[in-house]
């Protein structure tokens, strides 16, 4: 019997470069407080958000992906034709099929490389990094674009007090390449399907098809349940990720959690007993919760504002609708 040939096992993987698209419209708390009978103070106190960024009507998920991707490719010292694959995490690309990633190959001019979308909401970027890490190390692909991109302003209800007011738009992209030394640790990831409806769309597309009076589906969440899960279960996941990486919290240069809510970030940091030397990403105050885009956007900002963090280790953790979670330690590009 013949022995099957397999991909030649690669070496290690790393994040080589990063890019960002930040939406052009700055939306203040006062701008959105009216329909939810709220105030700037109420929103700040409960979420830590001062502003969020939202894209114009004529800017779509693909436009955001393209800008972030081109920046990430350039910062990796590569060209679009060097890209070996594209993974986009998004829940707001407005077509169930075909994927955003397939369209992006054409826009970027990468050539006919494998390209696909993943649906893992706010954990999606960490899921994408896990996939890219495995694909590079297995020798299956190299130079993989991983993008988190969301136009959440398309699925908000201005009168919803559960989640809409925290959401923003944006895209963050990185290129995962082969490396001589480990730059991405083993991912700790999973799901909690019994809480499937904790963060959810109000209706399915079939509901809308069958009853044209049904309002356009928008997002909702059970906030306190999400808070409890994200903080206390999330802290355990984060600790597991440190153990899997073989490091201690004191080895970290930065902690970059999904930018869901400042109070989740604060409580997570408290539960993890992070030393003061660890820089904590707090991009949410200015840019809101951008789901899959929030970790790469927060990372890009940290590296821009504190370039000395480059080369240091960062613990990143995503958690969201599913419920799903993913965490790994990366070496910052």
């Amino acid at each position: 019997m013949p022995t099957l040939k397999t991909a030649e096992t690669g070496s290690f993987s790393k994040i080589a470069g990063i890019g960002a698209y930040r939406a052009e419209n700055l939306v203040t708390n006062d701008d959105i407080a009216g329909p939810i009978n709220s105030s700037d103070e109420w929103i700040r106190q409960r979420t830590g958000i001062i502003t969020r960024r939202r894209a114009s009507k004529d800017v779509g998920v693909l436009d955001m992906c393209e800008e972030a991707a081109l920046e990430a490719i350039a910062s990796s010292g590569l060209k679009p034709e060097d890209i070996g694959g594209i993974i986009i995490s998004t829940v707001t690309f407005p077509y169930m099929t075909p994927s955003a990633a397939a369209a992006l190959t054409d826009r970027l001019g990468t050539g006919p490389v494998p390209a696909w979308d993943i649906s893992a909401a706010c954990a999606g970027y960490c899921y994408g990094i896990a996939q890219a890490d495995s694909l590079v190390r297995s020798g299956t692909m190299d130079n993989i674009l991983v993008i988190g991109a969301e136009k959440l302003s398309d699925i908000i209800d201005p009168e919803d007090r559960s989640i809409s007011f925290i959401l923003g738009d944006g895209a963050g992209a990185v290129v995962v390449t082969s490396a001589d030394e480990p730059g991405i640790s083993k991912t700790v990831w999973g799901s909690k399907g019994e809480n499937w409806s904790t963060i959810r769309m109000t209706e399915s597309l079939i509901d809308v098809r069958d009853d044209r009076e049904t309002p356009f589906p928008t997002l909702r969440q059970d906030g306190p349940t999400v808070f409890r899960w994200a903080v206390w279960d999330g802290a355990e996941v984060a600790k597991e990720a440190l153990t899997a990486a073989g490091i201690e919290a004191s080895d970290l240069a930065a902690f970059i959690p999904h930018q869901a809510n400042m109070r989740i970030i604060d409580e997570l940091a408290k539960q993890l007993k992070l030393p003061e030397s660890v820089v904590i990403a707090r991009d949410i105050a200015d840019n809101g919760n951008t789901s899959a885009a929030s970790i790469p956007l927060a990372t890009e900002r940290l590296l821009r504002e504190q370039p000395e963090l480059s080369g240091g280790l960062a613990l990143q953790i995503g958690f969201g609708a599913g419920l799903v979670f993913g965490a790994q330690v990366i070496r910052l590009p």
């Binding site: 409960r46 059970d222 306190p224 349940t225």
Partner: protein, 83 residues
């Protein structure tokens, strides 16, 4: 060892104090967490998790909304201890 009702109230007051900065004396049985003590849903979850750890009980998310007053929480914890 089960906690007495007075111990649960005192322990709960300490947890509320730690989370919100409210004086322990302010955490009286008849006080509503939301209306009187101005505790929001996120702080309430932190209080619940810390109460679970302190008293060795389980308080599922769905039951938290029924804990309107401090006495409701004391009663719930007392009952959960017996279970």
């Amino acid at each position: 060892m089960a906690f007495t009702e007075a111990e649960v109230l005192a322990g709960l007051a300490e947890i509320v104090n730690e989370e919100t900065g409210l004086a322990v004396e302010a955490v009286e049985p008849a006080k509503s967490f939301t209306d009187d003590l101005d505790i929001d849903s996120i702080s309430m979850m932190t209080i619940v998790v810390n109460a679970e750890k302190k008293f060795g009980v389980k308080i599922p998310d769905d039951d938290v909304k029924d804990l309107v007053t401090v006495q409701d929480a004391v009663d719930y914890i007392n009952k959960a201890q017996e279970a």
